[in-house]
Amino acid sequence: MAAIDQGRIRNFCIIAHIDHGKSTLADRIIEKTGLLTSREMQDQVLDNMDLERERGITIKSQAVRTVYRAKDGEEYIFNLIDTPGHVDFNYEVSRSLAACDGAVLVVDAAQGIEAQTLANVYLALDHNLDVFPVINKIDLPSADPRRVIDEIEDVIGIEAQDAPLISAKNGIGIEDVLEQIVAKIPAPSGDPESPLQALIFDSLYDPYKGVIIFCRIMEGRVKKGTKIRMMATGAKEEVVEVGYFGAGQFIPCEELCAGMVGYLTASIKNVKDTAVGDTVTDDERPCAEPLAGYKKVQSMVYCGMYPADGAKYPDLRDALEKLQLNDASLNYEPETSIALGFGFRCGFLGLLHLEIIQERLEREYNLDLVTTAPGVVYKVHKTNGEVTELTNPSNLPDPSEIDYMEEPVVSAEIMVTSEFIGPIMELCQQRRGRYLGMEYIEGVRALLKYELPLNEIIYDFFDALKSRSRGYASFDYDIKGYEESKLVKLDILINHEEVDALSFIVHADSAYERGRKMCEKLKDEIPRHLFEIPIQAAVGGKIIARETVKAMRKDVLAKCYGGDITRKKKLLEKQKEGKKRMRQVGSVEIPQKAFMSVLKLDDK
């Protein structure tokens, strides 16, 4: 394939708040550029995992290359790089942005700017991308494009007067978007003759090809046979294949040169070796410096995952191993719980990431899981000067050995219409938020800024936010750092036995409240037994709350009708089946979902 004129390449992404129509616009762009016939089009080509489609969220960033014949008669190559749309994946977003030269900002004509819109735009501007806006859903009855254009100019400060007014869903105004991509997004620069310098923005494990690296070539060139080195991880291999992204398929080519976006494979066995953000260079002729911005991915949220059926432990281990091949941000190590047996302590980018992994394990690997309450990573400063990271509450050292503890804190921005400011502030207050300020946006909406402890927002903060704002609040956050905090371990005792899997770390001031709610919740979750079961919450050995599950007195099938034994047996079988889904702690059977009950303690 002949070298492509850099001037005819456009590397860009689409950024938007969730549901503002990013994926739909991507589909239209692919459709209009004609690489695929309408029949070949799946509804949303970029999202090819089932799960993503159901959740309406793009999880893995991917890329697609299309060819557009512009009104100037020239053919342009569009590399559209998709970005994940959730705060859990902020780092991945930043690396995808770094692979682009510009961004199309999609804003909903009815809803206007939302918290994620701002967060994404600022992120794009931070990466020096040229951003131009597109107003979507103009055919909605509630659409108000004028207002939204003004809002974009006022709040974000980018030119929006000639923003295309489109309906991605109905294919209105797409040509306009394509022309603006050509006109407003700069062509890439970079010297094909310089040493190779390529940015990894994603990678994928394929059982046949090994790891497939998604990269943007910043400088130099790469082709089959090039001996490459990942500058951060140090992994070295020889390139087996290079190519670009057709919609939903890999199309091999001769070589990739500066300015291009594509993939390469090199018999790499683990995505851990191809960290997102790392720089690929030519081992024989390396570049002087790696690209800026590489960060080692850190798990922010941890939880225990156990097979419901203890015998499935090896299956769980295999499944995690396989998932990790494709997901470098998933961490796991074996752990043992007295209550739950053998399992894994798993680390995730955030709660959504956790839920996705959990669902994939259950759906794709057919595993029935018991998951313990997620927690964040605490820093424990011991009196002997040692600092340890705590991911499992059970491992908290004896209080006498602890000097102080720190917890992660986030800077959060919450966009909300003014009528809900009160309830939202109250919620943030409850969650130990520190108020930083508020900005009004064109009168009726406000951007609230808070610092919040991460452990207060990982469970149900988003749900609480939605329920207190009738679904209108939007939310985005960034990890700010660690702060000292008065934290304690709350233990739960069932029938006087401490259940390790139910322990969690909580701020001392909320311990009583959380303990009480936890006991109430467990009282409802634990079925009655043949004996009375006390449920207690304790901090440092001191009981702070108690509930009792009364003993079961009656469990009889009084009459057995007309010799219909099968019916009776079915009843007993159902009872036995129910028991199977329980975990035995001492002499008490605890339903598996009880271990997750700590998640849903919000009253509203």
Binding site: K554, K559, Y561, G562, G563, I565, L572, K579
Partner: protein, 385 residues
């Protein structure tokens, strides 16, 4: 012909005057025409099936429902006659029919007697007319007394009376009043069944309780009623032989004991269940279908595995106060009871829900304790392998 196998026969009559609020059995009111058509179909099933049971001698017959007495005595007599023509009925066979007050006059009862019925089971449920109304019964206590007296007058000397505890609004005192009313009958019944009400989903009562229109006694009272039943009846000369059944010596219901000891039984009529050899099967529940083709209704044909037979042996046998025989288990399955169930037995004997009994010749038996009977489902579920 002593080599003949023993068989029990159950005949199902799916009709009643009006459905009681707690009832989830296969029964509903029907017109005269439907009842006649059904009895005809049932007699056809009796005739057609009889040929398969030449090697059997019938040791008990139970006509249950529904309310069998809701059917005319002529039809019932014809049904029993048909049965006798097709099957060999042992001379001492126990032949029971269920009767509800207000549906059987002297004439009807006399006719039953003539047809060979030698045991009556009368549904009283409560001696309190308010309670009776609350659960949708169509009779009063006075009407029960009349039916009961008629039964005695017609010469029935083996009578069961059904009562219920834990009824809506029932107090312990009111329940005891019902028991007392039964025990102070001029000639008290030979057999008493006392069922603790089980709220079944889909029944009218379930709906009423869910909507808060009715209130059931708390569990504490429920268990107290149950306990007192045992104590009071024992004093009055009735021994509890099954979870809900009490009898004077020699009057245990042979038919029902057959179910718990896995005697072979043939169920005839809509929805009726059977156990023949190690086959369990039953007829379809649809009355319409049955009327069309009474012989084509067999469903759930199931051949029990050894494992399933063991399970049944246990969870059925444990309903009896005498429990199950460890020796018999060995005889039937060639395995020690403890080899299969050692862990469960150990756990529940320790918890005081099961115990070993050594009867007479040192036969080892395993039985539920009184407390075990209260929560027998929990225990029995553990005997499923």
């Amino acid at each position: 012909m002593t080599s003949k196998r023993e068989l029990e026969i159950y005949l199902h009559i799916p009709f009643c005057v009006k459905k009681c609020f707690y009832c989830d059995f296969l029964s509903a009111p029907a017109d005269e025409e439907t009842r006649t058509a059904y009895l005809e179909a049932l007699m056809r099933e009796v005739r057609e099936r009889a040929g398969d049971y030449r090697n059997y001698r019938v040791v008990s017959v139970f006509v249950g429902g529904g309310t069998p007495s809701a059917v005319s005595e002529e039809l019932m007599a014809k049904l029993l006659k048909t049965l006798r023509e097709g099957f060999e009925i042992a001379p001492d066979a126990e032949i029971t029919i269920e009767v509800n007050p207000n549906t059987a006059d002297k004439e009807k009862l006399y006719c039953y007697r003539e047809s060979g019925v030698n045991r009556l089971s009368i549904g009283l449920q409560s001696a309190d007319d308010g309670e009776l109304a609350a659960i949708g019964r169509v009779h009063t206590f006075a009407q029960f007394l009349e039916t009961y007296q008629n039964a005695r007058d017609c010469g029935f000397s083996n009578v069961n009376v059904d009562v219920m505890s834990a009824l809506p609004g029932q107090t312990v005192e009111k329940y005891l009043h019902t028991l007392d009313a039964v025990l102070t009958l001029k000639v008290p019944p030979e057999h008493i069944s006392s069922y603790s009400l089980i709220l079944e989903e889909g029944t009218r009562l379930y709906e009423m309780v869910s909507q808060g229109k009715l209130c059931l006694p708390d569990e504490e009272s429920d268990r107290r009623m149950y306990e007192l039943t045992g104590r009071i009846l024992k004093k009055a000369g009735y021994a509890r032989y099954e979870i809900s059944n009490y009898a004077k010596e020699g009057f245990e219901c042979r038919h029902n004991c057959g179910y718990w000891t896995r005697r072979e039984y043939l169920g005839l009529g809509v929805g009726a269940a059977s156990l023949i050899g190690n086959h369990r099967f039953k007829n379809n529940d649809s009355l319409q279908e049955y009327l069309k083709d009474p012989l084509g209704q067999r469903i759930e044909e199931q051949e029990l595995s050894v494992k399933e037979e063991m399970e049944e042996f246990m969870f059925l046998g444990l309903r009896l106060t005498k429990g199950v025989s460890a020796d018999r288990f060995m005889q039937l399955f060639g395995r020690e009871l403890e080899e299969i169930y050692g862990a469960v037995i150990a756990r529940y004997t320790k918890a005081g829900l099961l115990r070993y009994k050594n009867e007479g010749k040192g036969e080892r038996r395993l039985a539920l304790t009184a407390r075990g009977m209260d929560v027998c489902n929990t225990v029995m579920a553990e005997f499923l392998l």
